[in-house]
Subunit: 244 residues, 2 copies
């Protein structure tokens, strides 16, 4: 079937989760980079673990708990100021530079977001970045009380949109999300942001490189993307190819 | 109720997953440490993701896929020799030095293993390390086709052992496993292997330190251990305390 709807992941796909890094460095000096990378890794772990344990708490809780874990692990004394400042920044993450232009180039399609974010977090994100009017729906996984890549999340999006899986193009930079959406039955475009040359040696690796190694690359989960793109601005080409 | 049965996690608790490190360094030089740490991180991710996606493949597949992912990411040309040698070593991991002595000190209890490992992998592990006769059962999650911390895994162990959850002490060094077992209803002892002082700065971090930061520390998943121990040899004391 022809794709009529494009559904975007939010964190890491439209919004740059790394954009907390500058603030983290202002607040925590040389540990800022480490905090930025560990926070995202632990936040994702907690979504998967809470999904699997069937102990859902919403993404604001997971985001706070993972930050608390990391601040304690790296030896930043529990500081309400630091924690609250970072959590506030998470509600106003930067869009990737190409996002606005890329979304406007898809005006012929119905656009939506499907995100792990809680309704309140997503509300804040789209409001602060001024993109609300571009989306017909902003869908949080919250009603199904689990996290991506649980198939119930993608099913929620399909049902909310009244769409057959096959007529949806799902767009994510997160490999696990690509696998989950593909397994559910969406067409999937993977925005490959985590690329880069392999490291010369173990000792040349810092937190950001390690994050890139773990989170970049095609996941070996048996469900590959239909298309790989370097940027959101390549999506019109993908949609043209799919329509052939 | 009085604890009569002690159930151990295998990988990271009885068996040292880091014991592939020396071989990895022999085979891959300076990238060996990086491969060792990323492999374990990615292997765990794939268990959680396949559990959540409901696309179970057994632990030998997950272990191979995660190694292939990592070898490709760090730029080791796909070499059957390297891959097969590392996978073979994974079937014969070293016991932690205190394991044998600690298990023998628990001769008054019924002992078992509950592991993500496939039946064939666990068979190889206990055979190669000569501990089979110490355990009344070696239980793989394989029959329930999901991975820890899914509650069905712990339920499988309770049913296999014919035990009430409350009379089982579950022992793991893995924070997510501690949370899952506690959530199910087992008493839980956490073997805290991932400790250590916080790092002085981001730039002082290598792959092993990063692994320790991510995997050590008490997980903030709402289900803490009943007891924290530094070594398996502390378990008799824990059991005495629980019997009071």
């Amino acid at each position: 079937m022809t794709v009529r709807t494009v559904v975007f992941d939010a964190y890491g796909t439209l919004y740059d989760v790394q954009s907390v890094g500058r603030l983290a460095t202002e607040l925590c000096g040389d540990k800022g980079e480490l905090i930025t990378q560990l926070w995202r890794l632990k936040q994702l772990e907690y979504t998967w673990l809470r999904g699997l344990m069937q102990t859902y708490e919403d993404f604001s809780v997971v985001t706070r708990d993972s930050l608390d874990f990391v601040l304690e692990r790296v030896g930043v004394r529990s500081s309400t100021t630091i924690r609250d400042a970072l959590l506030t920044k998470y509600l106003k993450l930067d869009l990737y530079p190409e996002t606005l232009q890329a979304l406007k180039a898809l005006a012929d399609y119905r656009l939506a977001i499907l995100s792990n974010g809680s309704p309140a977090m997503l509300d804040s994100l789209v409001e602060a970045s001024g993109v609300r009017s571009l989306f017909s729906q902003v869908i949080s996984v919250d009603p199904v009380k689990t996290y991506k890549p649980d198939p119930r999340c993608y099913d929620l999006a399909a049902k909310s949109l009244g769409a057959v899986a096959d007529e949806v193009l799902f767009v994510s930079s997160n490999g696990f999300d690509v696998a989950g959406a593909k397994r559910f039955g969406f067409r999937v475009a993977w925005v490959e942001r985590g690329g880069g040359a392999p490291p010369p040696s173990s000792s040349a690796i810092g937190p950001t490189e390690l994050f890139g190694l773990l989170r970049g690359g095609a996941e070996r989960l048996g469900c590959g993307a239909d298309a790989r793109v370097a940027s959101l601005t390549d999506l019109p080409r993908v949609l043209t190819d799919l329509a052939r």
